[in-house]
């Protein structure tokens, strides 16, 4: 073969792989409203930065006629590139090649990328679009999944891992995304479930569509499996890019510092709280009034809305914010919101992101369903996550901090470095009504006018306890501050805590209540 022939041959081989499953399959992919794996990588990464590896990898399966089947790239594209200048490892399953099914060679391409991401300390992004295990490869394809899950777990807390579900992700395959830090879904495109509608119908006789069982909305609103929900693939890619700017490359680094910017929220922070303590407001307004450019990236926006979590910058530095949401269920902690907050706290702690906790909650949600669903075990996750976290922990109590809720929301007692309270803070064992009814039970019952006595006792309790000064008198609060001063106090806390050292006791690992 002449030199020129060799070059021509190379380009021919490359082209064969690049076309994936061929034009017909690509057309089918488009008809489903989906981009191709190659387009996805192109849109997500900075132009011209994608470098592909393992293009000529081939499977070695022989059974069921597989020896005669050529699968370009074995159904997955892998490589490295940049997102807004950040280096990332990426893989995208190609549904046009044998339905993106996962065989051993396919899995090995992925695990090679994972090992690389771990060694080089960069985020891993996985785009999932696969019919599942390649059945012809039998146990080898299961082995492939297992190797991926193992690495997902080993990489957890070392490098950020992002899963993008842009097609089916069913059966065992769902466990890779579930083990990663952030799962992105797109309406009408993402489908995730352990057992599909067909199986459910034959085994259980229940009929349900794929969308109702495991569509994007289901995972964003009901199951809590997804962290970000988008209407289109393009919107999803924008969300990923935004997220990447807030988080560090790996657990040895801090997130990039940006130019500090003042908040641009149109309502003055002191006017957000309503006059009555039992009236609601949107905690996100307080967040926007506090953070740089009022730019807040909310995580799990549509699930367990009684707690708000997400990333923002204060004075240019990324902070992870956890805030009770009085607008929804009065901001109570319950099974789902505890779960949501706890995992986020652990992510922030693992990746050196300071935590800012905004407290306004009346306590835990009462109910048989909550108790039976394990609110004790789930609620304990919040205590565990906060106590375990060694990053800077700043807490601001805006209004109510009652009972167990006060303790759980990053109180001094769980190791908060700074606890501030607004003058409107009420730090007590429970709300004034309930407390007065218990403490002054006899006085109220024996009074000539019980209702009047009750009101009097409630007022008495409010005056005595519904304020931040009892807690401040004990040093549980470091400073009572005005809403307007809050941003400045947080910036100062970040500044004086740059060299925080908090070495946890030596252990293999803790045993959190999960």
């Amino acid at each position: 073969m002449s030199f020129l022939d060799r070059v021509r041959d190379f380009f021919q081989r490359k082209k064969t792989v690049e076309i994936g499953g061929g034009e017909q399959a690509i057309e089918k992919q488009k008809k489903m409203g989906k981009l191709t794996a190659r387009e996805r990588i192109q849109y997500l990464l900075d132009p011209g930065t994608f470098h592909e590896y393992d293009m000529f990898v081939e499977h070695k399966a022989e059974d069921f006629g597989m020896d005669k089947k050529f699968l370009p790239g074995d159904g997955v594209i892998t490589g490295t590139g940049n997102i807004l200048g950040h280096p990332v490892c990426i893989y995208a399953q190609d549904f046009t090649v044998a339905g993106g099914s996962l065989g051993l060679a396919h899995a090995k391409k992925i695990t090679k990328m994972m090992d690389h991401a771990m060694r080089m300390g960069m985020p891993l992004i996985g785009i999932n679009d696969s019919g599942g295990a390649r059945i012809q490869e039998g146990v080898n394809s299961l082995a492939g999944y297992g190797e991926i899950f193992f690495r997902n777990t080993r990489a957890s807390g070392v490098i950020p891992q992002i899963s993008v579900i842009l097609g089916p992700c069913a059966g065992g395959a769902v466990y890779s995304p579930a083990l990663t830090d952030f799962v992105f879904v797109v309406d009408k495109i993402s489908k995730m479930f352990i057992t599909g509608p067909e199986v459910i119908k034959t085994v259980l006789g229940e009929e349900i569509s794929m969308e109702e069982l495991g569509g994007a909305r289901v995972h964003a609103e009901i199951s809590g499996n997804a962290h970000f929900y988008a209407e289109s693939e393009q919107e999803c890619f924008e969300q990923i890019k935004r997220l990447v700017t807030f988080i560090p490359w790996n657990n040895r680094k801090k997130a990039d510092k940006f130019q500090p910017k003042p908040p641009i929220f149109d309502k003055p922070i002191a006017e957000i709280l309503p006059k009555e303590p039992n009236e609601p407001y949107d905690i996100r307004d307080v967040i926007k009034a506090l953070v740089d450019n009022s730019d807040f990236l909310e995580v799990q926006e549509h699930w367990a809305k009684n707690i708000v979590i997400g990333f923002a910058r204060i004075n240019g530095e990324t902070v992870g914010i956890v805030g009770n949401q009085p607008l929804v269920l009065a901001g109570v902690l319950d099974v789902d919101s505890s779960d949501k907050a706890a995992r986020f706290i652990r992510f922030c702690d693992a990746f050196n992101i300071p935590l800012l906790t905004l407290v306004d909650l009346p306590g835990y949600l009462p109910g048989v369903d909550q108790e039976h669903a394990g609110v004790i075990r789930h609620g304990a996750k919040v205590l565990y996550a906060y106590s375990e976290a060694t990053v800077l922990k700043t807490t601001v109590i805006l209004r109510k901090a009652y009972g167990g809720g006060y303790i759980a929301m990053c109180s001094r007692h769980l190791g908060a470095d700074f606890v501030f309270a607004w003058p409107t803070a009420e730090i007590a064992v429970m709300g004034p009504e309930g407390a007065a009814n218990i403490i002054f039970k006899n006085e109220i019952a024996n009074a000539p006018n019980p209702e009047e006595m009750r009101k009097q006792k409630v007022t008495e309790y409010i005056e005595k306890f519904a304020n931040p000064y009892k807690a401040a008198a004990n040093g549980y609060i470091d400073a009572v501050i005005t809403p307007e001063e809050t941003r400045d106090f947080i910036i100062h806390a970040l500044w004086v805590s740059q060299n925080k050292e908090d070495v946890p006791p030596k252990k293999k690992h803790g045993v959190p209540p999960f």
């Binding site: 009901i222 609601p280 949107d282 929804v328 269920l329 369903d369």
Partner: protein, 104 residues
């Protein structure tokens, strides 16, 4: 504040104005389990029915076979008693917690 979709949540005798989630509104009221009602512990298909109305059974007697996830589960009687009602027949698909047999 948009007050249209605000509901009320009572905690420790205080009424809070707040949005109620779907999950919260749809939560089921707790009903204590009736020991006289035998219900399906797993969704599946009834493969055998060994009893009929009026039968006297003892603890451990076979009542029926409920097949689920390719396993045939023999459901035995938890008590001595008389069958008041048999809600299923062979071949019927049952949902989780669906009534199978009731004692008098």
């Amino acid at each position: 504040m948009n007050n249209e979709n605000l509901g009320k949540l009572i905690l420790d005798d205080t009424v809070y104005e707040t949005q109620l989630t779907k999950k919260f509104t749809l939560r089921k009221k707790y009903v204590p389990k009736d020991p006289k009602k035998i219900t399906a512990f797993i969704p599946g298909v009834i493969r055998e029915v060994y009893v009929k109305i009026g039968d006297n059974v003892k603890v451990g007697d076979k009542l029926l076979v409920l097949e689920a996830m390719k396993m045939r589960n023999t459901i035995t009687s938890p008590m001595n008693g008389k069958i008041r009602y048999v809600a299923v027949s062979t071949g019927k698909s049952v949902a989780k917690n669906e009534l199978l047999v009731e004692f008098e």
